[in-house]
């Protein structure tokens, strides 16, 4: 009987607990697609200057975060978006979800990294650039040479050796697809992907997974991004980072305030800080191209030619055609294998 009473007490207690949470001075819910292992460093560096603002991260793949934000359109849960693809933020802008705000010092930044609206609705942080992660150990076993261009990936000897992210869920996947359509033109771009599809082993949910799979030898090469490849290499995986010669797609990671946040002051403080020189130096640890001119230093294991091979990217075209491109992609490729019996 005592036990019953205790169970009922505990039940009541549990219901109570569910509603409470510990509060620092201000807590910001920040949505992000920044690599998980960097989040802590970003928050710690920010807290050196602003210890009174606590960041609660919600991290996921670019596509997932974008979709989550769109779903919460009428009931936003995020205060700030810090580190999401600029194409995604443009999408949010078209939904009227972003708070226009010119952060302090925005005029110093490379104008390419700042939204064209006045005041800007989002501000860029750094560029992330497509690349191929190539496992040299597995390639040697299979007896294949490294590709140097996108077109190389169509070689018959690579059949079943290529993994790429699904653009429906991965920002990296989308920037690849959008860059091929821009590089090769619409008709030839789709023809290229048809041929690539024939060689592809599978499509992953996240953009970093193909590179991690290449690092683990689970695939010979993964279409991913340069930053991830450099990290895998630094972690000891037998991986080379290849920047295809035709040019590579890229996207910006960018920051914005969600319209209607109840913590506008703290949000502004965070965004002000996120474009500061210190913040850009922090981004530069992993990313070779950052928004603040004159900050960027070469990054270890990062292929230097990545910067010069960035294509001229029409973000607005990409954002407005995103839905149509993704639908077409899904129709063509989203059932790689049929039931075999």
């Amino acid at each position: 009987m005592k036990l019953t009473r205790r169970i009922f007490q505990a039940t009541a207690f549990a219901t109570m607990l569910a509603g409470t949470a510990a509060y620092a001075d201000t807590e910001l819910t920040v949505y992000s697609a920044v690599e998980a292992e960097d989040l802590q460093r970003y928050a710690e560096t920010f807290n050196q200057d602003h210890p009174d603002i606590k960041i609660n991260w919600v991290r996921d793949s670019t596509g997932v975060v974008t979709a989550k934000l769109l779903a919460e359109k009428n009931n936003p849960q995020a205060d700030v978006v810090w580190g999401l693809a600029a194409t995604s933020l443009m999408l949010l802008k078209t939904e009227g979800m972003l708070e226009p705000y010119a952060p302090k010092g925005v005029e110093i930044l490379d104008p390419k990294f700042v939204d064209s609206a006045s005041p800007p609705q989002w501000v860029g942080m750094d560029a992330w650039i497509a690349a191929i992660c190539f496992n040299t150990a597995e390639a040697a076993k299979a007896g294949v040479a490294a590709p140097t261009s996108w077109k190389d990936l169509l070689k018959p000897e690579y059949k079943g050796m290529i993994v790429m992210p699904n653009p429906n869920s991965s920002g990296t996947g989308f920037l690849d697809v959008s860059s091929w359509l821009q590089l090769f033109g619409e008709a030839e771009g789709w023809a290229y992907m048809d041929a690539l599809h024939a060689n592809a082993a599978s499509y992953t949910h996240s953009g970093s997974k193909p590179c991690k799979l290449a690092g683990a030898g689970e695939t010979v090469m993964g279409i991913s991004f340069a930053f991830r490849g450099a990290k895998e290499k630094a972690g000891g995986a037998p991986v080379e980072v290849i920047i295809p010669s035709e040019g590579v797609g890229w996207d910006m990671e960018a920051t914005a305030i969600i319209a209607g946040t109840s913590k506008l002051e703290a949000a502004k403080t965070l965004v002000d800080w996120s474009i500061s020189k210190k913040a850009n130096e922090m981004y530069n640890v992993g990313y070779a191209v950052v928004a603040y001119p004159g900050v960027a230093k070469p990054v270890e294991n990062y292929p230097p030619e990545a910067v010069t091979r960035m294509i001229k990217n029409d973000f607005e075209w990409a954002a407005n055609n995103r839905a149509a491109i993704l639908k077409e992609w899904q129709k063509r490729y989203d059932a790689k294998s049929e039931p075999k019996s």
């Binding site: 009987m1 039940t11 607990l17 779903a71 849960q77 429906n168 869920s169 683990a216 059932a335 049929e338």
Partner: protein, 666 residues
């Protein structure tokens, strides 16, 4: 004499009234709980699956100036009427649809010298100029080159368009046959193997039965993703058993089937073992006396005796496999199944309407399997006879040895999967650096929420176990012991049985629709720990409810009459007799809820928030991001936690039995 004749009539009437009100209040509360956490959300989802988005061309208007001043304004719908119907763009769309106005303007060229004006002809409609969203009904002017950037946006409407789209998209429809195919094959394997295993335990005298019984329960203690992860290490490109597949890929149907057999095995085993344990020894003796061959005896005695159990096992396995999401997510490769489609539609593309459509499609086989199982179970109860004698196997050297061999193989398969996961979690960089280390346990380096997620999961599972046991038991008490109110009680019973037919993904998705609506007064629950607890309790309600009902059935209704004649209120009987007597099944229910809350992914994957990340979801997210070793590490943490909980449960029930159940021993 006269006094005592009147008093019992008057006093109890009053007491019963107060009692009655209390009981009715409880009944209403539990019914309301089930309606708010099950029926209503499901209804919301059904209606969401019929929400569509269409371009309403009549709500946009344009004007052109080709150098001779503004021509009269025209609705886009008027322009569309003049287009060749074959060239008319599709007007149905998703939430994120866009339609360029220039597609409707005859003779448009971006190099033209015309100037255009465009406006929303109705309040509420909106369009984009580049990436700027324009609302209101003012005119905006664009030179020809800018005008191509004007995009119309769709407005919500209702209809069956989503279903039409679903059934006309081959990649989506394919998943139906894929799902049925996987579920059917797995069911065949699982039920045959589980039958063999249960048969060996029940009908032979092989050694190590206790150990086998423990090992076979392992899959219940881990998330269904875990066998997928183990299979990657065993049969992936770098797997140590890959050659066994002879060139076939583990990513796809093969992997899903092997993993599904693993996680569905104990469920099928328990049902079949129960059925076999009810096997009547008198029939076996009769067949031996009649000199029937062992084979004949198997066919005409053993199998028919277990037939209801077998049918039940078939449908339970089928439902489990077709609704499982974690395993095909990890090992399915590009082989699409329904449960993963829901996830892809919702999480990948945030196409909630299409997610709802797939959910409705997935509900159909689940509901059919559920209904058949219910009917069969009802039959089985009537076959039990009070005169049955439990069967006691006799030694048979050959049969015992074969049974032992078979059980060892199954046990090695099950334990092997776990060992591989533990090994993978400890290795530094598979397959290039095989030295051991704890690097993969540093969850802050990966997605998923770190160690905090693990502790969240423990808290959540604890709440589910405590609150769930209370709610379920009160509900079961009302269904079983309340007098009168037959309609209300059967409604409650039906509501309590329903969750079994509802896949976790479907429940979770319906919760988004229901609780994330700002107009819902319960909206405050969204994103909290409470909603995770609620969804898990509801998801696992049925089995707990049936356990409680069975326990209550064993209580003699005399208790109620005695308590009424002693003028005791029902709550006193409930707290002094019913609950203490039912303590062992109550503990069983709470451990069932705890273990399942620790391992479930499907019921919570749409509902967790940054503050309430969970270990099971972390396994999924880590695997998704490619951190497979860390996913294995977290999965094993869930396993150890559940083993510990099971151990504590065992000690607690033993202690409790000794203290409160002494009356059973006389």
């Amino acid at each position: 004499m006269a006094e005592s004749a009147i008093a019992p009539a008057a006093r109890p009437a009053l007491a019963i009234d107060r009692d009655r009100i209390l009981q009715l209040v409880f009944m209403a509360v539990i019914a309301l709980y089930l309606i708010l956490t099950l029926a209503w959300p499901l209804y919301t989802m059904l209606s969401k699956s019929m929400t569509t988005y269409r371009f309403n061309l009549a709500s946009f208007e344009m004007q052109v100036d080709a150098g001779q001043g503004w021509q009269p304004a025209r609705k886009i719908s008027e322009l569309a009427a003049q287009l060749d119907p074959a060239k008319l763009p599709k007007l149905t769309s998703g939430t994120d649809g866009r339609l360029a106005v220039v597609d409707f303007v005859p003779g448009y060229s971006f190099r033209g010298t015309e100037v255009y004006r465009f406006r929303n002809a109705e309040e509420g409609a909106f369009h984009l100029a580049g990436s700027l969203r324009i609302t209101g009904t003012d005119w905006h002017e664009y030179p020809a080159n800018e005008f191509r950037k004007v995009m119309m946006r769709p407005a919500p409407s209702r209809g069956l368009d989503n279903y039409v789209t679903y059934f006309s998209t081959p990649t989506l429809v394919n998943s139906i046959s894929n799902s049925l195919f996987i579920a059917a094959i797995t069911t065949a394997f699982t039920v045959v193997l589980a039958f063999g295993f249960a048969y060996a335990l029940a009908m032979t005298v092989m050694p190590f039965k206790g150990a086998f019984r423990l090992i076979v329960m392992i899959p219940i203690l881990v998330p269904s993703l875990l066998p997928g992860i183990a299979l990657v290490y065993m049969f992936g490109k770098q797997g140590f058993l890959t050659p066994l597949l002879m060139g076939h890929s583990i990513y796809g149907p093969i992997g899903i089937v092997i993993g599904s057999v693993f996680f569905s095995f104990p469920h099928a085993f328990i049902i079949i073992a129960t059925a076999l344990s009810l096997s009547d020894a008198r029939l076996h003796e009769a067949s031996i006396a009649l000199k029937a061959s062992p084979w004949k005896r198997f066919i005409s005695v053993t199998l028919p005796g277990a037939r209801y159990g077998l049918i039940s096992a078939i449908f339970v396995t089928f439902t489990l496999v077709i609704t499982d999401f974690g395993l095909p997510k990890v090992i399915g490769g590009q082989f699409n199944v329904l449960a993963v489609d829901i996830y892809k539609q919702v999480i990948g593309q945030q196409n909630f309407e299409m997610g709802a459509v797939v959910s409705v499609v997935l509900l159909i086989p689940a509901v059919i399997a559920f209904a058949v199982d219910r009917i069969v179970q009802r039959r089985q109860q009537s076959t039990l006879s009070a005169r049955s004698v439990p069967f006691a196997p006799t030694p048979n050297a050959f049969a015992d040895r074969m049974a032992l061999l078979f059980c060892i193989m199954v046990a090695v398969f099950i334990a092997g999967i776990l060992l591989v996961c533990q090994f993978a979690a400890l290795v530094k960089l598979w397959p290039y650096d095989l030295s051991f280390g704890l690097r993969n346990y540093d969850f802050s380096r990966t997605d998923g929420g770190g160690w905090e997620a693990y502790f969240n999961s423990m808290r959540m599972a604890l709440y589910v176990a405590l609150a769930g046991t209370g709610i379920v038991f009160i509900g079961a008490y009302i269904v079983e012991k309340l007098q009168g109110m037959k309609a209300g009680r059967s409604l409650l019973h039906m509501l309590a049985i329903m969750p079994l037919a509802v896949p976790g993904m479907v429940l979770g998705l319906s919760y988004i629709f229901f609780f994330n609506d700002p107009a819902n007064p319960l909206n405050f629950l969204y994103g909290t720990m409470a909603i995770l607890v609620i969804s898990s309790i509801t998801h696992f309600y049925t089995v707990s409810h049936l356990t409680a009902v069975t326990a209550l059935k064993q209580l003699d209704p005399e208790f109620e009459s005695v308590s009424a004649s002693l003028k005791q209120p029902a709550w006193r009987l409930f707290s002094r007799v019913t609950v203490p007597v039912c303590m062992p099944p109550l503990l069983d229910i709470s451990i069932y809820l705890f273990v399942n809350a620790m391992t479930t992914v499907s019921a919570v994957v749409f509902l967790y928030s940054p503050a309430t990340k969970l270990a099971s979801v972390a396994v999924l997210n880590m695997d998704d991001a490619g951190d497979v070793a860390s996913a294995a590490a977290m999965g094993m943490m869930i396993f150890y936690t559940n083993v510990t909980a099971r151990g504590l449960h065992y000690l607690a029930s033993r202690g409790l039995l000794r203290r409160t159940q002494a009356w059973r021993a006389r």
